[in-house]
Structures are given as C-alpha cells and as structure tokens.
C-alpha cells in the first residue's frame, strides 16, 4: 500500500481527532463536574461557526473574527448557564435531557430566524487556502494543519490549567467529589459557570474552525455531537485525558476505517464482500468500539480516579 497515502490518512485522522477533542473537552467537564447531560453542546458549536462567519464577513479580518466569535460563544455559554441550566443541576438526567433538547430546538430556530434556513456562505481566507509540501509527493492543506496545531495547543493549555493551576485543582476536585468541594467553602456555583463558559468557548472554537470547511447551517451541531458522545464514553466521563485520547482513537479509527477497510476487505475476502460490507462496516466501526469499551471497561479507557 502507498506509504504517502497512509501518512496522509493518519494526518486526516489526527485532524478529525483534535476537532472532536475540542468538543469533547467541554462536554466531558460539564458532565463530570456538574453531573449535567448537555445535549445542546452541539448548538454552541453552531453558534461559534455562525458568529465567526458573520464577524469575518463584517470585519474582513479572519483573526478578528476568531477572537470575536470565541468571545461571543463564551458569552452565550455563560448566559445559557445562568438562565437555563442553573435550575437543572439538582434534577435528574431525564429532565436535563428534555431541557437541553429544548435548547437545541431553540437555538436552531433562533439561527434560522436570524440568518435563514439556508446554509450561509463561509470560506477560507486567501492566505490559509494553500497546501504545504510535507515530504515527497505529500501535499497537505495548510488550513487542516492549522486545525491540528490549534487542537494540540489547546490540549497542552488545558493540561497545564487542569494539572498546574488552582482552578484546575478545583476542577479535578469537583470531578472527584462535588459535595466535599462545596463543603470546603468553594463557591461551586461560580466554578460551574466558569467551567460551562469555557466548555462553551471550546465548542465555539471547534465551530469556528469548522465554519470554512463545512456547511454552516441550522442543525450542523447535531451531526457531530453523536461522535462526541462516543468519544467521552470511550475516554471516560469527566476525564480531560480520556477526552483527548478517546478523540484521537475515534478520529483515527473512523478515518482509517473509511479509507482502508473496503480495500482491505476486498483483498482479504473478495471484492464483492468489500463493496457490500466495507462502507457499512466503516460507518459502524466507532460504535462497535464503543460497545466493546462499554462491555469490558464500562468506566471508559481513561477514567477519572476517585469519583463520587
């Protein structure tokens, strides 16, 4: 098999992985620390994509659009937490699922009212639309490399915040034993707002990075949210490390499966079998993986130590 192609597909897997990580990090923190099932996480991703696209059209500056989009999503996240989610922490998961599903409908309609139902125009700035010659005949799109770079940088930053700062210590403590943290006099409400706001900002970051390459339209968040849930189940709920490694595993398995499963099946069994089973199996792979993890390691591959 062509070595260049394998390297390229590995890069594609990495790129999908870091994108999923940006979404999974916020979701897993909110779930792990606040014990809140937030189905509307994908809506924040959509909000990030719309705000960044809109600001880019208004200002003409991609960098400025990123900053404003990020700040805007952070703000939206904080408002959602203060207005809607605060009342849900003590309720059971079914109530949370219903309420955050309502938020999905609310955000999709709001976006449709503000920008219409049709996908809006979004594109790469000129200086990011080129390709980079990595080695031999391997050319990789610059923007996709940028996504990988940003994702890894965010992962590093998160690792630093979570394991080296006081805020991170509280977050870890909150994930392990919420009641104890509250009993020690920490303002848990403020901590929740901060965590949710940053989770929203990370989802927004994923959305604004996705804007130029995907269709920016109402409902775009739900398409990716399911994979994100798979990531946090595989990685272990509440664990940043689990979200990172889980996202890379899911990104790799999904991409390599889509790329090489059909040719592999064709070579090993028969071309007919490859044609028939390849695409179906490739789209199932990450769910099969999740089922296996749930069967053998129900707490995920990289669970949080302790736990409440």
């Amino acid at each position: 098999m062509d070595f260049t192609l394998v390297v390229e597909q590995t890069l594609n897997g990495l790129q999908l992985g870091v994108m999923l990580f940006l979404l999974a990090a916020g979701l897993t923190l909110v779930f792990g620390i606040m014990n809140l099932v937030n189905l509307a996480h994908g809506s924040l991703y959509m909000v990030g994509a719309y705000l960044a696209t809109w600001f880019y059209q208004l200002t003409g500056s991609f960098a400025l659009a990123l900053v404003l989009g990020l700040a805007g999503t952070l703000l939206v996240g904080v408002v959602v937490e203060l207005v809607a989610l605060r009342t849900l922490y003590e309720r059971d998961h079914l109530d949370q699922v219903l309420a955050t599903f309502g938020l999905i409908l609310f955000f999709n309609e709001l976006i449709a009212i503000l920008w219409g139902r049709a996908a809006i125009y979004s594109t790469l700035p000129e200086f990011l639309s080129g390709h980079v010659q990595l080695a031999g005949n391997l050319r990789y799109p610059l923007y996709r490399l940028l996504i990988i770079g940003v994702g890894l940088a965010v992962a590093l930053l998160l690792w630093f915040v979570v394991s080296k700062t006081r805020l991170g210590m509280l977050i870890r403590a909150g994930a392990s034993n919420r009641a104890m943290v509250a009993a020690l006099g920490v303002d848990i409400r403020l901590l929740y707002t901060i965590v949710f706001g940053f989770g929203a900002a990370l989802a927004g970051l994923a959305g604004l990075l996705a804007g130029p390459i995907f269709a920016v339209q109402p409902g775009m968040g739900e398409m990716i949210l399911i994979q994100v849930f798979v990531v946090i189940v595989i990685g272990g709920i509440g664990s940043i490390r689990g979200a990172f490694l889980g996202a890379l595993i899911v990104g790799m398995v999904d991409t390599l499966g889509r790329a090489f499963l059909k040719p592999a099946l064709s070579a090993v069994i028969s071309p007919a079998a490859g044609d028939a089973a390849g695409p179906a199996l490739a789209s199932m792979l990450i769910y099969l993986l999740m089922a296996a993890v749930l069967a053998f390691r129900p707490e995920g591959l990289f669970p949080v130590r302790g736990g409440s």
Binding site: L5, L16, A118, S129, P141, F214, P218, G219, R258, K262
Partner: protein, 399 residues
C-alpha cells in the same frame, strides 16, 4: 294510518338526510383544498421554503383561485421522516378532506405517503421525489408527478459522459437507497471504465479521507450525487483540496440555486444534468423566474420550486377541465394526462405511468453578471429529447 304516518315520516327523514348529503358536497365544491407536504424544518427546510414560495407564486398567478374556485392550501411538515409524512397526509385526507395532496421531496417519504393517499381515493401530485416503484409496478391512476423518475437525471449524465468519451470515472454517493439508484442510473447509460465507486455515510460532514483516496486513484473524471447540505460540504472540500483543477467534477442534484449562495465560486465550472434551468427561454419560465425574483427579493428559484409551481398549474388545468366538478375524478385524470398547462420546462407529455416524457439538459455553473454576483446555472446543450423513464414497462396502467 299510524303505520302510514310512520313510513311517511321515515321517508321524509330519509329524503331530508339524502338532500343534506347531496347538499354537503355541493357546498364543499365551492372550494378546492390542496394539502402541500414538504420539509419545512431542519436542514431540508430550505428546500421546503423554496417549494412553498413557488406554490404561493402560482396561486398569485391564478388570482388565488385554482380552477376558478376558492382555494385553500394547507401546508404540512414531514420533517424528512416517512412516518411523520404519512401521519400528516392521513390528517389532510381524513380530517381536512383535501381534494389533492401535493409536494414531497424525499423518495422514502413519498413511498409512505403516495399509496395511503391514492388508496383513500384522493389525488397525489408529486412535485419532486420519483422513486422507481411508483413509475413501475406501483403506478396509480390517481398519482401524477411534475418532476421526473429518479434514474433519469443520472442517466442523462451517463449519456453525456459516454458521448464525451470519458473513461476511468470515479463515482461517489451517500450510502442509502437514492444514492445507489443514482449510480445504477448512471451506469445504465455510461459504459466506460469505472475507476472506483465509493459510498459515504449519510450526512457525513467531512470528506477529506475519501478525497485522499480519490487523488491516489488518479481518475480521469469524478461523478457525484450529494443533495442538500452534503453537497455544500463536498464542494467546499473538493475545491479546498485543490482537486477542482485536477479532476473534472460532474454531478447530479448537488449544485443548484439553493446551494450556490453557500459555496459561491467553489461551484464554478460544475456540470450537472437537469430537466429544467432558470435560463430556459419559454414564456412560462421567464414569467415564473422573473416574478419569483420580484416577489422574494432577488432570490432565484430552484428546480424544486419550478416543479411545485407546475404542480399547482397541473391541478388548475384539471379542475378547469371538469368545470369545478371535483367529484368527477375520471374527468380530471383524463385532463391531467394531457399535461395541458404552461409548464416552466416548456411543452411536455405524460407517459402511460404518469411520469413526464421530457428533455434533459447539460447545465454549467458560470460566473454571474457582475463580479460580486453568485454563479448561475445555464443550459449548455440538450442531452435527451423527449426522454422516457426506464420503469414504465412494469406499469400495468393503460390509456
């Protein structure tokens, strides 16, 4: 004596009941009721909005009177789900007692809706989906469509690429019934070498992995079917991957007036086949496109709109032919079979399975009139003239 009075009374009651039962439909006949089903929410909602706009424009053109009668159009949202579509159509037929059900974008929704409407003795006027079952063994005298049979469009593309002498064509489509039908239709007329055939997950947002595989195969041309939002993702990424200049891209139902505003220059040069285009120069189409732009601040209609506009005109022609006697279904069937209305595609006829026999054109996305304008789809050449679908042979209907 008593007995006679009783029977007289009974007769009177019966007569009264009879006259009332006659009076009721006579009263109802003052009004045509049309139930229009489409997708008005979710990502598919943009298509439904275009169809509804076109229906409203058709009503404007008819002075809000279909067939000269008071008209009520009830819109129903199928949410792109077959079960919801069937529920909505049942409600229209039973509760609202509509005379016609029209619309429906998706083939799987249509397969759930059409039989239940026609079984209830109500007309079904399809204005998009053309699943092969309804053109073949499941054809019905109460079912008409103003669109096409699914396979026809890719067959036209296959014919064009065959005639152009292309070889080593790489095919891509989402992995569901219509995706497979499209590629089957393409291969019915395209006999050259196929370099690869790839099915992707429905609504998958990222095609980077598949595009890398495509580049490695180094085909001579690429032919895809990616409707709706999938097409927007695919076109953007195809351009961004630098493949636009490398492998010529051909498509069906992927680039249209609804997706172009979201991709703009990434659509430039795209070749599609279609039975209709906004620049067709017949009188009805010039009026339709011009008035549509006037009514909906400069928006260009898509083929979804054109078909829906035609659907209302087809109903109008039928109601006119029976002079508003909506109980005369035989008369209306006979009238519709003549396709006697000013269609946006120009003159066409109906095959015996009630699917249009019509022309198919090669369209290209070319630069708009000004530097800032969006690309527009324009007719390049005629691929098929008076083209019939491939399933009519399985339809037992005769006329």
């Amino acid at each position: 004596m008593k007995k006679t009075t009783g029977s007289t009374l009974a007769a009177l009651v019966a007569a009264a009941a009879l006259s009332m039962s006659f009076a009721a439909p006579a009263f109802a006949q003052q009004k045509v009721k049309i139930g229009f089903i489409s997708t008005f929410s979710g990502p598919g909602g943009v298509i439904g909005a275009d169809m509804k706009n076109a229906v409203e424009l058709a009503l404007d053109h008819l002075g809000r009177k279909v067939g000269g009668l008071e008209t009520e159009v009830i819109y129903g949202d199928d949410q792109q789900k077959p079960d919801v579509g069937k529920q909505v159509s049942d409600e229209m037929v039973k509760k609202h007692q509509v005379n016609f059900v029209a619309g429906v974008i998706w083939s799987n929704v249509m397969l759930a809706v059409a039989p239940s409407v026609t079984n209830a003795g109500t007309f079904m006027i399809g204005t998009n989906a053309g699943p092969h079952q309804l053109a073949g063994e499941a054809c019905n005298e109460l079912f008409f469509t103003t669109s096409w049979q699914n396979d026809q469009t890719p067959e036209a593309m296959g014919k064009y690429m065959q005639d152009a002498g292309l070889n080593d064509v790489y095919l891509m489509a989402p992995n569901y019934a219509a995706g497979k039908d499209m590629l089957t239709g393409f291969k019915r007329t395209f006999k050259g070498r196929i370099a690869g055939e790839v099915y992707t997950t429905v609504n998958q947002p990222d095609y980077q992995a598949e595009l890398a595989q495509l580049r490695a195969k180094n085909p001579k041309a690429v032919m895809v079917f990616y409707p709706g939002g999938m097409g927007i993702n695919f076109l953007k990424q195809y351009s961004q991957a630098g493949l636009r200049g490398q492998f010529p891209l051909y498509s069906v139902y992927t680039v249209d007036e609804l997706s172009i505003p979201a991709v703009k220059h990434a659509a430039l040069g795209q070749l599609e086949t279609r039975y209709w285009s906004q620049d067709l120069k017949n009188e009805a189409n010039v009026k339709f496109v011009g008035d549509f732009r006037k009514k909906y601040d400069g928006k260009t209609p898509s083929f979804y709109g054109a078909q829906s506009y035609d659907g209302i005109l087809l109903i109008d022609s039928a109601v006119r032919a029976v002079k508003g006697d909506l109980a005369n279904k035989k008369g209306m069937i006979a009238a519709m079979r003549k396709a006697d209305f000013k269609s946006t595609r120009g003159k066409f006829t109906y095959g015996h399975n009630h699917f249009p026999i019509q022309n198919f054109y090669l369209l290209k996305a070319v630069a708009g009139a000004s530097a800032t304008a969006d690309p527009v789809m324009e007719v390049q050449k005629t691929v098929f003239t008076n083209y019939k679908d491939s399933y009519g042979g399985h339809c037992a209907m005769k006329w």
